[in-house]
Symmetry: C2
Subunit: 159 residues, 2 copies
DNA sequence: AATAAACCATTGACTTTTTCAAGGATTAAA
DNA sequence: TTTAATCCTTGAAAAAGTCAATGGTTTATT
């Protein structure tokens, strides 16, 4: 029932690699983290027909920040052209709407509909639980610690 | 010259999004971290004609652990079929060799050649510097702290 | 010992994601 | 007013991810 005894039969060979240099390298750790984490999160979001990507867009569309598509691209570290089909999908399902930016008619602001906000509420709970599972090796304090460190690395580029 | 003043002109709009729920979500943070980090690392590895992926394989091939291709797939969280072209590329350049596993003739052990070890030495310095740049918002203690937390999440699934 | 089942590396087909260049519409700068 | 820059969108091409099937090998079952 627990996620920890997934493959106990094959005697996880991972332990033998603990001493390798690579295990200390950030790129490796983060890549593996993303693979495992987003895999689990996508599974948790499947009932809502969402993935981490579309969920992220929906989440931002639910905020009061009124993000333009360019904002979304920068935040998610994606090419602007990748945002288009992402928003298209959500818009088709009636979860978000493209609004004309009053300040700049080139831009389009992506905002959530009522249905979008409603779905987001449920989906958020799913991702929260998925996150707990992913972090089950850490104490609650360590989890917030990890989030804070990541947040500073990824958002605060000030010096 | 420094990486911190990349886009100071456009007055990073990211700050306005700090209050959004998404900024606390692990999946988002890790995805962004990977995008930024591996982007920088790939750039640093370009002089050696390596990417984070091929570099990781090379690194493991340089260890004394004698990893099979299956081991590589599990560690890097990739499909076994993705390892094939990865090792092919390194083998073509004479950096690694496929050896018959003495214990199991189905498996192939991937080991680095002398040229491979030599290149790895240089490439490793490049990734280390790239890592420092990525983590420049953190103190040295916080950097090891972050690595430790990630390591436990990603490798130690015991409970 | 013989048969069946499981496993490894590889191939191939397929989908998804990423990366780029170019375009029309709009705004900012000269 | 002209020039340059920005935003969204499109489309093409490369890279990465997913999945099923195969030959050779090992393990488990009978």
């Amino acid at each position: 029932m627990n996620a920890s005894n997934a493959k106990k039969s094959t005697k996880t060979k991972v332990e033998q690699f603990m001493k390798c240099d690579l295990m200390q390298e950030l790129d490796f750790l983060v890549a593996r983290m993303r693979s495992l984490g987003s895999g689990r999160a996508n599974l948790a979001l499947k009932p809502f027909d969402l993935k981490v990507r579309s969920y992220s867009v929906l989440s931002l569309a639910c905020s009061e920040v009124m993000p333009t598509q360019r904002d979304l691209a920068e935040l998610l570290a994606l090419d602007p052209s990748q945002i288009v089909p992402l928003v298209d999908g959500l818009e088709t399902k009636g979860l978000v709407t493209r609004l004309a930016d009053p300040n700049d008619r080139r831009s389009k602001v992506v905002v959530a509909t009522d249905a979008g906000k409603k779905l987001y509420g449920k989906a958020r709970k799913a991702t929260e639980q998925s996150e707990q599972e992913t972090l089950n090796a850490l104490t609650p304090e360590e989890r917030t610690q990890l989030r804070d460190l990541l947040s500073r690395v990824v958002l605060g580029d000030s010096a």
